[in-house]
Point group: C2
Chain length 428, copies 2
């Protein structure tokens, strides 16, 4: 058994976790996976972590390119993140013919084409299980065990921070602002929570999932993205009343005329398996033509979970490297078009704040009729503020373009103070 020499770029919590796993389970992996992994070089911009992680002066460096270019390094683990120096390092490693393991969802969702094409050209193994769903093995099953299926749908709760916030807004009735603050206090949310609460993190992940599931390139820009800022505890409470949970769902469907891919707060039936995924947990649900429905559930964040995924990739890359296995690559060759959001057909739950009730139902009815939008239920709900009430309506299946037209017209009505929230309802 040849020792496979690993170079790590970035020694944050995940990088430290990878070193911990290799220290603890190196013998186990030799016996049970047939792979001997050794961390020979590691880089970080700060020297602080070197001692903490027991790295010698020979191993540690503040120059990540030194690790990539070290002829003694067989495989490169990129854990710096972002699309700056991480991109240069990943490209340099691939150019040097070294397999790359990365957790960098931003890089793959924005520069995927460049990175994957170079990897394909060079026949270099590129693995990124940790980029989606933390420690949950989902990309590996998707690209291996499920190859005998046409995957027609993949969707999931792929951002633990917002799922924690929504769980707290549901269980404890917290406001959005209080939920953000609590998530920040617990270290689940960043000081600037934008990437999480505006859905960009989830969008990068569904772009990666959709690319692998449908064998077609989907980038971050292709994903219609809406976060949870406008959600209130009242929306969640009303959803519960009618049997739904509210989740920030990342959804990708392969339809006849292209890929429908989006991230938005979604009402799903409480009986659905995804509805009981609470707190910081993640889950990815998918459907294949033979396998039917599947769900993969687990810890979506945390050093140990992400490090577990990186080491799983390392073991596979090392096995392939040892045996000279041909690399399959991304194979995003199907080039399916992305459907515009306007073509989406789904149901909607809309909460309006109304000032003067007289004649408002008649006015709303006129708007619905104008765009041929069919209403399943319309409900008036307690006092909102002095002289104001809330109206909540749920539509039958409607074209997004028609729904947007309805909302524009409704906002013009004098009695309507505000369209307080619009939630898509998925009958999954």
């Amino acid at each position: 058994m040849k020792t496979v020499k690993v170079g790590i770029l970035g020694l944050g919590v995940v990088g430290g976790g990878v070193i911990d796993i290799i220290n603890k389970h190196r013998e186990k992996m030799k016996t049970h996976a047939g792979v001997d992994l050794e961390v020979v070089r590691a880089a970080d911009i700060s020297t602080e972590r070197f001692d903490q992680l027991g790295l010698t002066a020979d191993q540690a460096t503040t120059d990540a390119f030194e690790v990539v270019n070290d002829p003694n390094v067989d495989v490169v683990v990129e854990l710096i993140g972002g699309t700056g120096i991480a991109r240069d390092l990943v490209l340099a490693a691939i150019e040097a013919g070294k397999p790359v393991i990365t957790a960098n969802k931003a890089l793959l969702a924005t520069h995927g084409e460049e990175v994957f094409n170079l990897a394909d050209d060079k026949g270099v193994d590129l693995r990124f299980e940790a980029s989606v769903g933390g420690g949950i093995p989902v990309l590996e099953p998707l690209t291996h065990a499920l190859t005998g299926n046409e995957i027609t749908r993949v969707m999931g709760i792929v951002n633990g921070t917002t799922n924690y916030m929504l769980s707290r807004m549901t269980d404890a009735g917290l406001s959005f602002d209080d939920a953000v603050k609590e998530a920040q206090d617990l270290g689940y949310a960043e000081a600037d929570p934008t990437a999480d609460v505006d859905g960009f993190d989830a969008a990068a992940k569904i772009a990666i999932l959709a690319s692998l599931a449908f064998n077609s390139r989907v980038t971050l820009d292709d994903v219609a993205t809406e976060g949870i800022r406008k959600l209130s505890a009242a929306d969640i409470e009303y959803a519960e009343e009618i049997g739904y949970a509210v989740k920030l769902l990342a959804i990708a469907n392969k339809l006849e005329n292209g890929i429908d891919v989006r991230v938005h707060p979604t009402m799903i039936p409480v009986s659905h398996q995804l509805a009981s995924v609470n707190g910081v947990y993640n889950a990815v649900y998918m459907t294949g033509d033979f396998v039917g429905d599947l769900m993969f559930f687990g810890e979506g964040a945390g050093a140990g979970a992400a490090a577990s995924a990186v080491v799983g990739d390392l073991v596979e890359a090392a096995r392939a490297y040892q045996s000279g296995n041909e690399v399959i690559g991304c194979t995003c060759t199907d080039s399916l078009p992305i459907r515009p959001l306007e073509d989406l057909e789904t149901r909607y739950c809309v909460r309006l704040v109304i000032e003067d009730r007289s004649g408002v139902i008649h006015q709303l009815g006129e708007v619905f009729d104008k765009y041929d939008v069919s209403i399943k239920s319309l409900k008036q709900r307690g006092a909102y503020a002095e002289g104001q009430v809330e109206f909540i309506f749920v539509t039958h299946r409607t074209l997004e373009a028609d729904m947007q037209a309805v909302l524009r017209d409704i906002e013009e009505l004098t009695s309507v103070v505000e369209v307080a929230s619009v939630l898509r309802v998925e009958e999954i």
Copy 2:
């Protein structure tokens, strides 16, 4: 790309499904998995299926050994099942150096040592994803993506028939007998439902899961097995009242002094992810030291799901076969002891039928004290029959041996008509 020639033994619904998948997705698998699969030979005891599946006279045979011995067959798929001829065929295929894919849980859980040892000796790939959890990719992640973890627990709902029955007993209050009948009418249960309802099917599956998770041989005989025959809708109803769901759980824990492995009806908190796995669905829940908790959910039965798992294995075996990858094998080298059930420590929920109430609590108290069993709650519950009532008690954590002693003494009490049910309560 070399075409990998497949021979199939057994053309039931799963065998037919494998042929369907290869017919439908052969080109897709060439492009996206780098593998060209072709079914060149197939065997069944009846000739009926040959025409249905479009097999020519050259391809089809009633002699399965002809398929195994055909020099044109590269990989053998065994879907006959059982431990009779299937065992001879699998051993013959391995002896001939051909990778084997099987869904045969009975064979692996009883003759695993013989089969795995031969495969290891010959360096032959043996894959069996379809033997546990139908189409759910669980064995592959366990042995690949999760290699960087020490798995300390694996448990699951791995028998769809009994899970369907329990779901119906819960939702519709069906009796055990009515639930069996309904499952039989729907084709979920066999005419003789023993293997399902007495837990043997689940026991074979947890033996396989535990072997892979803990790298130690666990056989069917090692599994303490109890089915759901004694369960009534009343047990389920009471469990619900105190916040628990009743599931036939297959459980394996790696403890300091060995492996705890068992199958029995179990009360689990309704908030647990496994509690919402209903109907014929299966799910496997596991815990690793770095990855934390994971769950894999999906269709545990059905031709398409099982065929999907077989084809996933075929693709991996074919890739390894093409590239001459070294085979890792079962690596059940840790030889951990199996803990006797008597050493189990858990909580218990016991339902008693009582005839003469006077003094019975005092008598029960004496028994509990004698064996130092601590009671969390004791509740009397409506009339059971003329002059009879039910007592339900829940214990704190107790040694199984003490609990069994308590139950033996309780059965001797004159006022106790019957120990109607004993459920283990898992605080997972």
